[in-house]
Subunit: 340 residues, 2 copies
DNA sequence: TTGAAAGCGCTAACAG
DNA sequence: CTGTTAGCGCTTTCAA
């Protein structure tokens, strides 16, 4: 701020009245004469006066800022969720302060600390893939500072959160595979501490049961969510004596890595191997073959998270709600065998 | 902030000393006795004291916040640039406040106003595609409030900015097409008010000249950056009596729309039509055929923009610098004819 | 070596 | 109807 913003004091001096008169006139206080009110408001407009939020914040103990922590900023899923959060925040006159944990536990802890230092009024968080310990949220929980988790969640009995119907979605995928003639259905899971990993894995098991398919430990691979690790996981599946004829991948990264690996060994999707992912809508349509995928109401997840946040601002001690968002299975080409 | 943060006053009361003593002890002021310093710092740690940035901001007239305005949050290009900005901001102890213009001029104006009201110390901006008037930046320029543009820029003689070597990149694309036997090279441009449109168009013309190819107005289409409009533009090119044998698209959206249209009419990429875009690296590898594309140092663009910003904070009146980032043409399959 | 007081911009209770 | 004052949390003179 090179040149100082104009303050109430500046206006008061110029009009030769007291600061409080100006303050009141600006908010149409009934005690102030019409003429004075008019004069003050005119000058304020002319001088381009806007109240200083720092002063207000100091006074009111509020900053109208929400801290948002995501594993990364560049994934379409997260940036879309952020858009949703921003949308609702803006409606409520709040700004969001975004911090990326880069999928690192340490950076997540750091971000929590930093954001609280800047006096955000609370946090909306998606856990990093490394995070197994959840102590860093104690401060928030104990001091009734609003906190909302989305997607990758924890401490769900204390903290309101927004999740997708992960288990059900995974179950449906398995059934869809089954109906399309696939029998050796593999699953590439993410880090086991992640709630989404657990939930989707459970759905996978449930699906096998529903279809009377045997569970085969060999068919479950695991990876951290990097491209490299996902490629390794895929290769381990493809190298099995009896390789799977279908793969469900836990997210975008995993699915695209799998896709490349499968093509590389000369297998055909969907004829040799069916492929379905929890993936982004846009990407699914652009690849070849187009991907059957579980589609998330991503923007809405952000909106709901923000709404839960404002509920929390209103009622910091109310019992935490969990919102489960419906996903849908969009069938495209990667799971439809040409010749059956 | 449900329970109030602990303040200097709280510490002072607890230790039965004055606020100023505590303040000084905390910053190791030499006037304070070692023992007092120790005692204060110990208590501060125990009580989890952190200075209130609102109070500091009020005092110092600084907020350590940068406003960032982008056309949208979900495009990989922008979210990556933001990551770059955030990276440098964090190094300097700054936070960023992100606002999306949704490619709308009005929202951009609104965002500028809102961000300035929150007393960010300056702005880093990429113009919306609608923006043709640039008055809303007058406040910044006139009051020496730091402002940096990136990618889509304006007022480059007054405002520091970061751009890519757009013209040169487009020229190279045309030459690459030519070397691969393509002769009727079309270009799908964006809105003409955008600096990137102008620059890339100039490069396109230059390329034609370099290769001794005739300029044909028919081969230049234009669209706003929506998928629908890009599809229309592509179709108009494909419907020409003598359709192009190569298309250069101004960005991701345009290229993917073009790709779908071309496939739809049964033409083969790259044999019937070569395709090259200013596109995202990740997407380029995932589509089929993989896309030859102009690759941007996206993260670095963000970093440079932030660096320029801090230069501006230091020297608000120094002559504005322009930084031109080098792109590179990564050749993949969409521009390599199988049979020549 | 420590404390008191002013002031950053603003609101609200209290006087007049 | 308008002004005075205290205080939000902090730094920084000036005094002691």
């Amino acid at each position: 701020m090179a040149k100082r913003h104009v303050s109430l004091k500046d206006l008061a001096t110029e009009l030769n009245v007291s600061i409080s008169t100006v303050s009141r006139a600006l908010k149409n206080h009934p005690d102030i004469s019409c003429e004075m009110t008019r004069k003050v408001q005119e000058l304020a407009r002319a001088r381009n006066y806007t109240p200083n939020p720092l002063a207000m914040g100091l006074l009111r103990q509020e900053t109208r800022m929400i801290g948002v922590i995501v594993p990364d900023l560049v994934t379409h899923f997260f940036s879309t969720v952020i858009s949703g959060i921003e949308y609702v925040a803006k409606q409520n006159g709040y700004f969001i302060l975004i911090s990326s944990s880069s999928e690192s536990y340490e950076k997540e802890v750091e971000s929590v600390k930093n954001l609280l230092q800047t006096r955000v009024e609370g946090l909306i968080v998606c856990l990093s893939q490394e995070t197994k310990i959840f102590d860093h949220f104690d401060v928030l929980v104990n001091n009734e500072i609003p906190l909302v988790f989305f997607d990758r969640v924890c401490r769900t009995d204390e903290v309101p959160n927004v999740v997708a119907d992960n288990s059900e979605a995974a179950r449906k995928v398995v059934c869809h595979f089954y109906e399309n003639g696939y029998r050796r259905i593999a699953y590439i899971n993410g880090p086991e501490q992640l709630s989404i990993s657990q939930q989707r894995y459970n759905g996978y098991l449930q699906g096998l049961q529903d279809c009377n398919l045997p569970f085969d430990q060999e068919l479950v691979a695991q990876c951290n969510l990097s491209t490299e690790d996902a490629s390794l996981a895929t290769r381990s599946l493809l190298n099995l004596k009896n390789h799977p004829d279908a793969i469900l991948g836990i997210n975008d990264t995993v699915i695209f890595a799998a896709m490349k690996e499968i093509k590389q060994v000369g297998l055909n999707i969907p004829n040799d191997i069916g492929l379905i992912g929890f993936t982004d809508e846009f990407h699914s349509t652009v690849v070849d073959p187009s991907l059957t995928s579980v589609t998330f109401p991503t923007f809405e997840i952000g909106q709901e998270a923000a709404r839960l946040f404002f509920e929390r601002i209103q009622h910091p001690t109310a019992p935490p709600r969990q919102i489960e968002m419906k996903t849908s299975l969009v069938v495209r080409n990667s799971s439809k065998r040409e010749a059956l």
